[in-house]
Symmetry: C3
Amino acid sequence: MHQTLAILTFDTEGAGFYEITEDITRWLRETQVQVGILTLFCQHTSAGLMITENASPAVPRDLVRWLSAAAPDGDGYEHSAEGPDDMPAHIKTMVTGNSLTVPVADGRIMLGTWQGVFLVEHRARAHKRTIVAHVCGD
Amino acid sequence: MHQTLAILTFDTEGAGFYEITEDITRWLRETQVQVGILTLFCQHTSAGLMITENASPAVPRDLVRWLSAAAPDGDGYEHSAEGPDDMPAHIKTMVTGNSLTVPVADGRIMLGTWQGVFLVEHRARAHKRTIVAHVCGD
Amino acid sequence: MHQTLAILTFDTEGAGFYEITEDITRWLRETQVQVGILTLFCQHTSAGLMITENASPAVPRDLVRWLSAAAPDGDGYEHSAEGPDDMPAHIKTMVTGNSLTVPVADGRIMLGTWQGVFLVEHRARAHKRTIVAHVCGD
């Protein structure tokens, strides 16, 4: 068994789901690992990583709406240094999580038919986001 | 260190928590790994995996009620192709997550006294669900 | 590649976020793993593990408030054997999760600038909590 680690960066254009399945698939192919475990880790406290349906763009839109209703922007938070979308972004990151662990077989991420990998931007404005990708296997 | 990967399938009978601790324990024993890391990955966007208390059946029932109140069935979603429980199931999967990573020692999953591993069905109707099990260790 | 596993215990003083970044960093240094994957697993159903901002103590306080509003203490639960904060603690553990997987490089956890590792106590009273730490790498 051997391992490979890389730092990948992505530009977001504000709150929403950004599918990165193809970026990860391409990186994984370069590592030449056929069977193993892929870990993705987002180095931020206001952006997350998630696997959800990638067939209908209405699914991520409904998820964004639900998250915004669950943790609305506003001045009702003690922590508000960076504006009304600051603390809600930390809450939403708690809900979505900031890492993913997925088995690999035949050199590919073992996603189900309807699954895609998404970087989830929880801040209102555009950001550059860093994801650590690690694979361990044969 | 070596690794083993398998695809396990489970039948659900509609929304609820289905304990799979014994199925996973049995599979793990067959791999003969004594110390390592177990990963379970659910290949669906409307069912999840969770570790919670398995002593009192009231705990999963309360969790189901809480999830249903947090993301109620209905027509208030943009994505409603498969009915009123479709989008809520995606939201609930976001909350419960769809993978688990647990250390292994003495050939057993290192669960705490009160912990059990559950497949969580978020759709109203019965489904066949696929879980990828992977263990890496010695 | 090789692996090391340890059981770490922490005392909490009731509901809140307890930063354990330095404890984990110290343990990781002793393992002498330079590059790999760190897994932390909390063996409880009423306490979790999370990565969030550690610069402003107001962030964890706001997270505790949000969790308490989302799953309020009370008698509205079927499972209430251990008191009004029992079932809410299980719900909050579902939201925060109970494991973390983080890449390691240069012998250090690859946390982002603002990230810290927290043990999250969801019960009102003080508890002793057990976390399994596992690292696999070179």
